[in-house]
Symmetry: C2
Subunit: 310 residues, 2 copies
Amino acid sequence: MANVAAAPRRARAEFLADLISAGLLIPSGVDGAYGRGGTFEAVRAAVDAFVTRRSLNVRPERMAFPPVLPRRQLERIGYLSSFPHLAGTIFSFEGDEAEAAELERRVGAGEDWGGLQRQTDLVLVPAACYPVYPAVAARGPLPVGGLTVDLGGSYVFRNEPSCDPARWQMFHQREMIRLGAPDEVAGWRDAWAQRAVEIVGELGLEAAVDVATDPFFGRSGRLLARSQRSQSLKLELAVWISGDEPTAVASFNYHREHFSSVFDLREAGGEQAHTACVGFGLERVALALFSRHGLDPARWPADVTALLLP
Amino acid sequence: MANVAAAPRRARAEFLADLISAGLLIPSGVDGAYGRGGTFEAVRAAVDAFVTRRSLNVRPERMAFPPVLPRRQLERIGYLSSFPHLAGTIFSFEGDEAEAAELERRVGAGEDWGGLQRQTDLVLVPAACYPVYPAVAARGPLPVGGLTVDLGGSYVFRNEPSCDPARWQMFHQREMIRLGAPDEVAGWRDAWAQRAVEIVGELGLEAAVDVATDPFFGRSGRLLARSQRSQSLKLELAVWISGDEPTAVASFNYHREHFSSVFDLREAGGEQAHTACVGFGLERVALALFSRHGLDPARWPADVTALLLP
């Protein structure tokens, strides 16, 4: 770990204001929707590449998906039952010229025009791994030994406007997925959680892995969270960024047969496969670095910059 | 230009089927929404980097924006008047537990659940340059000599499901923007159009630049298109990919004072600035390369791969 004194702890609003005045973040006018200045973006890309260099994955298959997903897949996965409040769905205009004139009038008059929009076949991707399961299932059974997929940095959307500088509505997950035999998949998930502590530790961040839960909706969600916690299905890596509590910067999720039962993912021998995914929140790791080492990377500890920009 | 015989011309459906069976594209079940296999993604990234190496820009400022934009900005820019049919707006659920139960019931029963979604403050970015203008305007007047912004590869969304393998609903624009004095901005736009012919020519693609128009909506849109064409505001670089007609793989747009009048962009001396943008459709350039040189980059002409993977 880098041998430097910790930066003073800052309140969230103060840290956000500092990030903006340093040109690291560019406010859009909507909470949680930020542009990124060149310095922030260079650090984000460097973290992405550093995770790749420290990867545990053996011969991963590279795939990439846009941040849109067929609505039908979100319906099948059950996301709308567990997280109806976080989903973003895409609506568009499908009217004629008269309706277009009415749309233009409402926009000009500052009136609500949502009623002139229709739900399309696409939604926003809320978790980078979702497109992988149907894509892999369409090929038939997994190869012997299972499959590891590396998605690189992928945009995801969550409907949760927030003033917390670390809670964005659209951000990059550095995402990897393992599909195969239960023991093997669970072991991969656990090994990545340990590796993640080492990765951020090399960058000078003190981090801890703990059992966590997803933000399930409503009262029935509390039962889901209790079940998830009791089985240790979700682990999170937490680092202090700003405010009073540490922030999760990576998560390690063992889905058991959840996605396999929806998409009929099978091992080479025909058994139902298990799946797990690992995602680093790239913007959050970058924010943690700016919080820990200061807003100017030129003044970061030499061992940290040597690792990030080799 | 690479000295190779042209690949045979293919119909669009045939080319799309070939791309999928080669693992270059991954179908999602919705037209125009594709995942990308590792080989395709490597070529896309290589094209991105090659455009950067051949860039004309002098000391560009790097920025990056997510593919979401405040709805208010799309309203102010006039996009909903000119292209109401292409815009994608983001809706989400904001109900209570009873409404969440009804949402879950409708999803399970296969009923329409769009009525339980409300329009949010965010829309999808339809043109990568849009977030730049308010961000730059918020700083005050431009520096002396104006400003060049490089966004790298940025996702944009267009609501236009299509079976054309080159028409995607979400794709990357390799986007650059120039803001400053009218002559300087127009000259930059024209110089990039010429440079783009050279860039794709080095990669073995025969291309032509021509005056073009945007797909404005409806009858009044025809007037807008005529005005745009008569002033040569939009140039496009067209390359043959599949089907009977060439496909635009880059565009060069001189906006005159359009964005400056909305966001009050001024030169250092106080004059109203002009703006222009240049965007390469990265997936389309990659598709043109696969169409021209074949589906296996390992068998592409050595001079092309040497340029792309130096």
